[in-house]
Symmetry: D2
Subunit: 333 residues, 4 copies
């Protein structure tokens, strides 16, 4: 009854997932961890008590002791590994993104359609963050009327050196794409990008305001600021007809010293969303037992990539870009 988990990728996220599965999730145990760097795989395996650290991802997928696979390898490999798992009939938790392009993402959708059922949960962990889930629940309670607009802020202390303005949309804004669809139960139908004054400390257009419309006419605006210096900061305010819902502070303590009252901000997304990752991974294991899918699907992954593709086009043209999707298969309705 305990599910054997294999992890592909022993980098920062893979190692974190290994620690979560081994140390915080009921009903599962680690079997094997694979990485192109075998030594890294072995080190994580040893730390987390996994049986084996290897450099053979397909071996992990086909290992009979592995009942479910967690994919945390480089982005470009996600689709192929996910398809291999689907063919092997094994449930998957796949780190986002599903694929670098919408077209590639559709390949995974087709693999599930061929198999006739869903196997893959996509790792948009914010769907399990207590702030977002409470926000959605409060909206759905009807107590505040319909949602009209959603203000989002996504700030990192510093962006990786290889990021550019498009990467900010593809890698960072994609979280707001998925979570706004989740909170609003709506699809994004258009996008435009408005640049602010560029920070002298940034090497691309930063900050930017990305503005979406939903198919319900709602406005979603996202401030992206990936070189905000002061810390990691994610905010959301949902504007409803008779009230607004935003997040509370995320600091456990409040300190008064040196002339100020201060609460701490997370340095990066991992401590900020530690609860979300834990709850997500537990929900994945639980979903395998119950057979009820949880979290984002590969269709959600396809949609997210379609939206960010349009966002990049909007960035480059300065125009408002309408967003079109393939027809949603019944499997994902």
């Amino acid at each position: 009854m305990s599910i054997g988990v294999g992890i592909i990728g022993a980098g920062v996220m893979g190692a974190d997932h290994a620690r979560i599965i081994a140390g915080q999730v009921a009903g599962a145990h680690l079997v094997a961890i694979s990485d192109a760097d075998e030594a890294r795989a072995k080190a994580v395996a040893q730390e987390t008590g996994a049986k084996r650290g290897v450099n053979d991802p397909l071996g992990v997928i086909h290992d009979p002791a592995v009942g479910a696979v967690l994919i945390a390898s480089p982005d470009s490999t996600h689709a192929d590994f996910a398809i291999a798992c689907i063919k092997a009939g094994k449930p998957v938790l796949c780190e986002k993104p599903l694929a670098p392009t919408a077209a590639e993402g559709l390949r995974v959708v087709e693999a599930e359609l061929s198999a006739g059922r869903r196997f893959v949960q996509l790792g948009f962990m914010r769907r399990f963050d207590p702030g977002y889930t409470e926000m959605k629940s409060l909206l759905n309670s009807g107590a505040y009327g319909e949602a009209l607009a959603f203000h989002c802020i996504h700030r990192n202390a510093t962006a990786p050196a290889h990021f550019d303005s498009a990467a900010a949309i593809v890698n960072s804004c994609v979280h707001e794409v998925d979570i706004s669809r989740f909170v609003l139960s709506a699809e994004l139908s258009a996008v435009r990008v408005i640049k602010a004054k560029r920070s002298k400390l940034a090497h691309f257009d930063d900050p930017m305001l990305v503005v979406f419309e939903t198919d319900k006419g709602q406005l979603v605006d996202v401030e992206l600021f990936l070189n905000a210096q002061y810390g990691y900061d994610v905010k959301g305010e949902l504007i409803c007809e008779t009230g607004t819902i935003s997040f509370g502070p995320t600091s456990n303590t409040e300190i008064r010293s040196a002339g100020v009252t201060a609460t701490s901000l997370a340095p990066d997304w991992r401590p900020r969303f530690a609860a979300a990752y834990r709850i997500q991974n537990q929900a994945w294991i639980r979903s395998i037992v119950t057979g009820q899918p949880a979290g984002s699907s590969v269709w959600d992954g396809y949609v997210a990539t379609t939206v960010t593709d349009a966002g990049v086009k909007a960035l480059h043209t300065g125009e408002t870009v309408a967003i079109a999707y393939e027809k949603r298969p019944g499997l994902y309705s």
Copy 2:
């Protein structure tokens, strides 16, 4: 040395101003209050201890006991009364707007240019709000680098029945127009209007997002939501290169009862900006003594109207509208 003040207009704002001058401002005393409804003028005069309540605005302006005039009459009369005061050589505090159109506002500018000095302080009271002045001071301290973007939120519980979408920009958003110029020390150079889903409780496009660019490349976005139902709520967050500055809560007390911790919001702008009005009126009286103008000038009034004219055009066309100004006279530099 106490300055005799005459007030034109005994409506809600005129009466408030009379109370402030009579009860909270040093160095001034009320002489006369005029209103088209003489009974209303007399009632306010009696309540506040002014000598006379009349229906003769020009008589107030030319009364030798009146050393300074506060204009709080209907918007369309502001320019003419202000010009009459300038011709009479009397300092003025004029409620916003300066005039319904930019062209009319320029008439007051020209009257001051003819007189060779400034007489009029325009009543954009937010320039005296402790939150905004502290925000500007923190920005100018340089501790957080340059300002890159400014998020503003302007919500009212309910809009007057005669308001439409254009009125929301002309009457409400105009405050953010003036205050963002003040905080950022920049001019607004372009504007676009993006509609959110319209609230079923609103009779025009509400909420809307009004997005400005400044001549420094900064982004200023203003959520206007004039039928937000829950109360009056003005928020601002200034995004700088290494930190952000926003307003603290404005409630004096925090109550824990019935399952929640709650702080109260103001029902409308008057309690929210009570300190701003008091400080503004005191600064006006002080400026008469010192001869150093304070607050917004008629040029600022002309600029504000020019920007909201462009905003209304952006609302109706859906386009980004560039904003052009007359050349700024040296008197206002």
Copy 3:
């Protein structure tokens, strides 16, 4: 109609009061300022536009142009100056304390009783602080039931070198004595003092917990910590039968930088209670016009000193000390 004010004492508090009367209070103007150091009196007079700076306090009191007197001279002189004003028939705003001992304070009470009316408002400015007045108003609304206990915190960054444990009670805790009587509409009937671990940065017993009982059976506990280092901090939480009421933050802005969200604390009591001082002084001038006394009376001053006398006894004995008062004259009921 404008009341001429004379100020006795041009030290820190006297100069602050002169600035408030001259620059923020309606219906009054400064006539004269007296100080033992005549040069200091002249400097403050010049800064604030008072007609004269002198070293003749009785001359100020008897100046026919002086309609009301503000006493901000050394504590030991308050009672005598107040009595001189009462004999001269002039209204007084007297900085706390009324007198160093309860017995001396009674002399001023007797002077008012002889005169047959109240002349003196005692400068317990917290009664005009918007936080405390809103707290009292919320309690009196009945919405939260009766008050059962009141937690108070009174912290200073550093105590003056001449302070000792008794001075902490007499000079600092006295504010909580007056304000708890005001908020609770109750009298303090017993007091005990419980010492915490002494801070290595303090030169007397600091912090201490001073615990009062009221004649209604309520508990009032006051943490005194006068060498708290980090700033000036006054907190209050009123515990009622169905809810609690505490103060909101007092910072105008909130800054996110360097890993924290921070709001600033006042360095000392003057900025923290700037609004209270302004409102108090305005209420004093207003009370002279209306003839309705405002704020604390000399009886309140006598009571406060009686309580702190008992507090010092409790400090030295370690016992619970019952507090007895003279019979309250009808003039103060």
Copy 4:
């Protein structure tokens, strides 16, 4: 490697623990649940996937498939079941209290001393609450100097009908007894109880202030208010030489509606301390694997009961009661 857990007691807490072990804790699985009411045991077993629901606690303890026992049965049975587990050589997580009296608690201490090692972790879950652990960690960082005082507030919406004033100390205040020892790394050496005005909605002395001294001279004061009506509310403020540390808000969202900004409070201790329970139970399972004890020991349980015994004496006598302990065995140093 997965540890089989048996649970004794299927009441509210036993059922919660079963859900946590089954659904949120890595490295463990439920084997059996016992309750005097066998139907209740079976229901919880079925819900949580435990193999068996029985009415045979000793059978659970001696079941070879049970590697560790969680005791959540009525308080008076804790000591005997714990001793049975120790004799059976099985690790225990025992809900607080260890025993109704200090003398009975010592029996469990002696059982461990006889066995020569620790088996029992006592369920003072606050030691795993992120707020308290961060507070302790910040104190131990030394950044704010030494701890001088600790203000605690413990409020429940309503107390059970069978509670009296002594029960408030024994059952509720006991949490602050354990956690203040934990945070301060100090022992409580004296206690007094000061009653506030009794709420008309309470059937015993409520609220009360319980004041402790530590062996380091620190002050710990605890407001107990078990009929506070408005919700469950636990607050703590640690006063150090150069700063104070308190808890941040615990609400995930902030709602603006109907004139207020509101954050929700927990209705009772279970949602408030949900994270603490989960982390505690995980730490227990982990400690079995590593052999390193976690959380409170039976010695801590003995100490807590000794302190609350003294607290009840202080309640009844009105005196300050010194607290004496047995000599601490080396096993618990």
